[in-house]
């Protein structure tokens, strides 16, 4: 059986080997060049519909150098190294006004993933729910 390299592949670069620090800085530098604001977010609930990861710090609107956001990545890793951490870049130009780039910069060591819960309905119809194994434990106890 062919297996995906990972079982959580959200973000722009999840199919590449984990980005090195220099590669992360290069992507942040690109975001700065494009005039985007940068945000560092973390979570222990990586459900794809979990839109609101925790914000590690205030969004960085006026930094000129990637070292700034990268410093926050490092600090966040120190505290939440067992969680998912991503860097989001936000473009506020009209007709976009949304995230322009979003990539994972930290993963838990063990990623148990998700399974499907099926609810059978009439005429073979099926209602699906995605369940994260990690969230069976309370916040703070996941991914240990």
């Amino acid at each position: 059986m062919h297996e995906n390299p990972r079982n959580m592949t959200q973000g722009t670069f999840s199919f590449l080997p984990p980005l090195t620090d220099d590669q992360i800085k290069a992507q942040i530098a690109y975001a700065i060049k494009m005039g985007w604001a940068i945000n560092v977010e973390y979570t222990d609930d990586p459900h794809p519909r979990n839109t609101y990861w925790e914000m590690w710090c205030q969004p960085m609107f006026d930094t000129k150098d990637p070292a700034a956001a990268f410093m926050e990545v490092q600090e966040c890793r120190k505290v939440y190294g067992n969680m998912y951490i991503k860097v989001n870049a936000y473009d506020n130009t009209r007709w976009r006004e949304s995230v322009a780039l979003s990539f994972i910069v930290n993963r838990p060591k063990h990623e148990p993933g998700f399974h499907v819960i099926r609810q059978e309905a009439n005429s073979r119809a099926m209602h699906y729910t995605l369940h994260s194994y990690a969230t069976e434990k309370p916040r703070g106890d996941r991914y240990k």
Partner: protein, 489 residues
């Protein structure tokens, strides 16, 4: 309102309405002094007049036959504000390098059209006129839709940004694949292809345009198996994925029933074919807005009338109409794949779908400036004969807001469908990464892919398998203005 300008030689008063047949240009359909109003609908036609018909008369005839005229004078015109309702040909240009052809600019008052109805707009603009004997060939090249009229349309139900937010996918083109073979798979086998491709790394899979509800696979079967596959793939990847469930059917009611079932099963996206017709497209578009459904349009049939340069219509106009009618995805060319598509023409289509405003740009086929008011962006879809080895070209020509669909390029992978999907995703992500890092990825594309293939065997096999595949045929539909001008064939 100022009275429309009267053209030279135009008849007025009782003379104009004497029973009989008079030239179109003398009936008021040729008005070279007319200054188009901001609220006029403008159209540009490529006209090949019959021998002996002068260009002005041909242009006036097109204006007449696409608005108020009939072959003979009718006194009932005098019961109306006919000067207003008459379309006006106001400018003629020679087509570069095609001596028998002319570009005619025609203005239509907004009051000629029903609000929020592509069917009504098109019944005038491409209604009777294309069969009109006085022209040997006629092609609608471009239109300017006034903001006031645009505002009566809903536009795309979702739009590019909301689609990205719903899917939680940013910063790269999306990836898709059409299930192959197009016809004959049972529902169970069909779902297998969907599962493999999505689990392997694609964002979307797709029904083909002619997959509806045939004896080998009825639609409910297809929907059920595909959604099982989608949800399994979602669980395997923690991503939001989708399968374009084609809801095209014989009747409206049937189409809506299929859409409702897709919704019940939790699909994020449905699909329709262009052959549905404009009324059905607007109907399902409104349904999609109401039900938070992304709406994918396959342009089935368009090449029947959009491919030849001397007759029919340019696909760019279809793009405009579809942005108005309201679809979220539309197939709009690949530049490098197996289907027709000159790079500049394709850029014109993409700009039409994605830009808030397009200035006059003859090289892209934009004869008019177009403000898109607040109609959302449509995601172009590039599909047909593309593979991972072309990733640098695809990113360069098509940009970031596009769905790249690798059907054969996924399912035909020697190591299987998942491997094919992974190869595409790795190729794409490494190309975007290189672009963002400031690498000259167009020049170094093959190098970047080779480097990525070192950690991704499936990509290596994909590159080996398709390394010689290109489709270098000359395009038939090319721009008339620079950089290279090709005569119409």
């Amino acid at each position: 309102m100022a009275k429309p300008e009267i053209g030279k030689g135009q008849l007025t008063g009782a003379e104009r309405y004497k029973a009989g047949v008079i030239e179109y240009k003398r009936m008021g359909y040729w008005q070279p002094d007319y200054v188009p109003k901001e609220t006029d609908v403008l159209a540009l036609f490529r006209i090949t007049p019959q021998p002996g018909v002068d260009p002005e008369e041909a242009a006036a005839a097109v204006a007449g036959e696409s608005s108020t005229a009939t072959w003979t004078v009718v006194w009932t015109d005098r019961l109306t504000a006919a000067d207003l309702y008459r379309a006006k040909a106001y400018r003629i240009d020679k087509v570069p390098n095609s001596p028998d052809q002319f570009f005619a600019y025609i203005a239509y008052d907004m009051d000629l059209f029903e609000p929020d109805s592509i069917a009504n707009l098109t019944a005038s603009i491409i209604g009777n006129v294309f069969g009109f004997k006085a022209v040997k060939g006629l092609r609608l090249e471009d239109m300017r839709i006034p903001v006031a009229y645009l505002k009566t349309f809903q536009g795309p139900p979702t739009g590019v940004m909301v689609e990205r937010e719903r899917l939680d996918k940013y910063g790269r083109p999306l990836l898709g694949a059409t299930t192959k073979p197009k016809l004959g798979l049972s529902g169970r086998n069909y779902g297998r292809v969907v599962y493999e491709a999505l689990k392997g790394g694609l964002d979307f899979t797709k029904d083909d345009e002619n997959i509806n509800s045939q004896p080998f696979m009825h639609w409910r079967d297809r929907f059920l198996y595909c959604m099982e596959a989608v949800n399994r793939a979602n669980a395997a990847t923690a991503e939001v994925k989708g399968h374009y469930l084609n809801v095209t059917a014989g009747t409206h009611d049937e189409m809506i029933e299929r859409a409702e079932f897709a919704k019940e099963l939790g699909s994020v996206i449905i699909m329709i074919d262009l052959v549905l017709g404009y009324t059905s497209i607007q109907t399902i578009s409104k349904w999609a807005r109401k039900n938070d459904m992304i709406l994918h349009l396959h342009r089935a049939g368009n090449s029947t009338y959009s491919r030849q340069k001397n007759h029919g219509m340019n696909f760019r106009v279809i793009c405009k109409w579809m942005r108005m009618a309201g679809v979220d995805h539309i197939h709009a060319g690949t530049v490098v794949g197996k289907l027709e598509g000159d790079p500049l023409m394709v850029k014109g289509f993409y700009d039409t779908l994605l830009q808030p405003h397009t200035p006059v740009a003859p090289e892209l086929g934009f004869f008019f400036e177009q403000h898109w008011a607040s109609l959302k962006k449509v995601m172009p879809v590039a599909s047909g004969g593309i593979h991972a080895g072309q990733m640098h070209q695809l990113l360069h020509y098509l940009g970031e807001d596009v769905v790249l669909q690798f059907g054969g390029g996924t399912i035909g992978h020697p190591d299987g469908i998942q491997a094919g999907a992974e190869a595409n995703r790795v190729a794409l992500e490494s190309m975007v990464q290189a672009r963002n890092e400031g690498v000259d990825y167009m020049a170094k594309g093959p190098e970047i892919l080779a480097k990525a293939a070192r950690f991704c065997k499936p990509l290596q096999h994909a590159l080996d398998t398709w390394k010689h595949i290109t489709f270098n045929y000359e395009s038939t539909d090319t721009p008339d203005y620079s950089p290279q001008v090709t005569p119409a064939r």
